[in-house]
Amino acid sequence: MTKTSASPRENNFEHSLKRLQQIVETLEEGSVNLEEVMKMYEEGVQLSRICLEQLQEVDVKLKRLGKEIGGSFKLFDETLEE
């Protein structure tokens, strides 16, 4: 029962956000040299942009988990009845 990764776009968001947090913490510590500060600054600004872009997505995805003959799993599109 291994837990595999979730959808990549979301993982990206979480990773981006974690990295962003890390950068903020490192910068706040103040123990890195100027060159690293500039690199982190560039990375941080880019990550922020990526995160904000991902937050633009609008439609929630609803799927249904079903089992096929033989026991393997398959995702189906699902819409709720009005």
Binding site: M1, T2, K3, T4, S5, A6, S7, R9, E10, N11, F13, E14, L17, L20, Q21, I23, V24, L27, E28, G30, L34, V37, M38, M40, Y41, G44, V45, S48, C51, L52, Q54, L55, E57, V58, D59, V60, K61, L62, K63, R64, L65, K67, F73, L75, E78, L80, E81
Partner: protein, 395 residues
């Protein structure tokens, strides 16, 4: 009369004589056959009767019967000829009042508590960003609607995976437990919401079943229970990693709001820019400080000192040269005087002459012969002369 004939007559008599009976008693020897049919005995202090509940009717049960549970069973008496037994063919099985359900609830709660099912220490944390959210609920209930609505509004990039199950009736508990296990086998959700909308105690009963408790307990994926309204507490709520008072509340627990996240990301970005800018300013200050510092200015200082020294040296040198020139001139003047004092002209003025023959100065009388043409240089002019005769030494 054969056994078959006798049995058939008993069967006819019994089945006509007891069309429908409602009987109260306690369940014992409860068994669920793999076919789905339920077999058990209903007893009181003095007697017992076999009972069967066919699978098709078991689906309408609101609870899973347990040994010791007091029930009311309604059904017909039938005779099972093959084994020569009579039994109650149960059409409806209900706990004896809600008090009995309450008792079953308390009994199971105590058992599971003793097994450590509710220990806070084994509760899994709910991820902050649930990308894929498994939903174990009815596809037609209020719960799924509420959850989809709220998540669409808060965190639309989430993916909702519904595992449709019946949420009430006897089969519901097994379906719910199966869905939880299937999500674990599939493994691709970050969290599960297990629940349903509000209803009576009987409606919610599936979530008080041991199979559901087991499945939740064994799940490797964090589970949020969301059963009924805020006042409803089920066994599932105690075992789940987190209890949400309602399905809507569960939806709010699994995802942040987009606005919240935008705010957080913007803050991070702002902080990074602030720190980086401040750092650049401070580094610039440092550099300026160095430029102004004595140490850094030393070369220029030295240069200035040297050039001053050079100026001084040059001045000194000029002085030396001038002095030399001056003394040289003085020397020359005195020499000139001395030279002037030995000038032959001065001698000539005293009456001496210089004798030259063809320009050559003749310094001795012996160099002259008779008839030599010479010149006599006086201080004021030249006179030609001819030698008459050989001289005879000094006069």
């Amino acid at each position: 009369m054969t056994v078959s004939e006798l049995t058939r007559r008993i069967k006819g008599t019994l089945e006509k004589g007891f069309p429908v009976a409602a009987v109260e008693g306690e369940i014992s020897n409860y068994k669920q056959h793999s076919s789905g049919h339920l077999y058990f005995t209903i007893k009181d202090e003095h007697a017992q009767i076999q009972a069967v509940l066919w699978r098709s009717r078991a689906a309408n049960l609101i609870f899973t019967p347990q040994d010791g549970m007091k029930i009311v069973a309604r059904g017909r008496i039938t005779v099972y000829e093959v084994r020569g037994v009579y039994q109650l063919d149960v059409v409806e099985l209900r706990p004896l009042g809600t008090g009995e359900l309450q008792l079953a609830f308390e009994r199971l709660k105590q058992q599971l508590a003793a097994r450590g099912y509710f220990d806070a220490g084994r509760k899994k944390p709910i991820p902050r960003f649930c990308a894929r959210i498994g939903l174990v609920t009815s596809p037609t209930g209020a719960a799924i609607r509420d959850i989809v609505n709220i998540i669409s509004r808060r965190w639309p990039s989430a993916e909702l995976i519904l595992y449709p199950v019946a949420v009430q009736g006897a089969g519901a508990a097994h379906e719910i437990a199966g869905a939880i296990r299937d999500f674990n086998a599939w493994g691709k959700v970050d969290v599960m919401i297990v629940g349903r909308g509000g209803g009576s105690l009987e409606d919610l009963w599936a979530f008080n079943e041991e199979v559901v408790a087991d499945a939740i307990y064994q799940s490797a994926i964090p589970i949020i229970s969301a059963v009924g309204h805020e006042i409803d507490f089920t066994i599932a709520d105690f075992v789940a990693d987190l209890r949400a008072p309602t399905p809507s509340a569960a939806a709010e627990l699994v995802v942040p709001t987009r606005r919240e996240m935008v705010e957080i990301v913007r803050n991070y970005c702002y902080t990074i820019q602030q720190i980086a800018t401040a750092r650049v300013v401070s580094e610039r200050e440092k550099i300026n400080g160095i430029l102004r510092s004595h140490a850094f200015n030393r070369p220029i200082d030295l240069l200035r000192q040297y050039s001053q020294q050079v100026d001084e040296l040059r001045r000194t040198l000029m002085m030396v040269v001038m002095n030399r020139l001056k003394s040289s001139r003085e020397q020359w003047t005195s020499l000139d005087k001395r030279i002037r004092s030995v000038n032959p002209e001065l001698i000539l003025r005293r009456g001496y002459v210089i004798v030259r023959r063809n320009g050559e100065i003749i310094g001795s009388s012996k160099k002259l012969k008779p008839s030599d043409s010479v010149h006599l240089d006086y201080h004021d002019g030249r006179v030609p002369a001819v030698i008459q005769k050989q001289g005879a030494g000094h006069p």
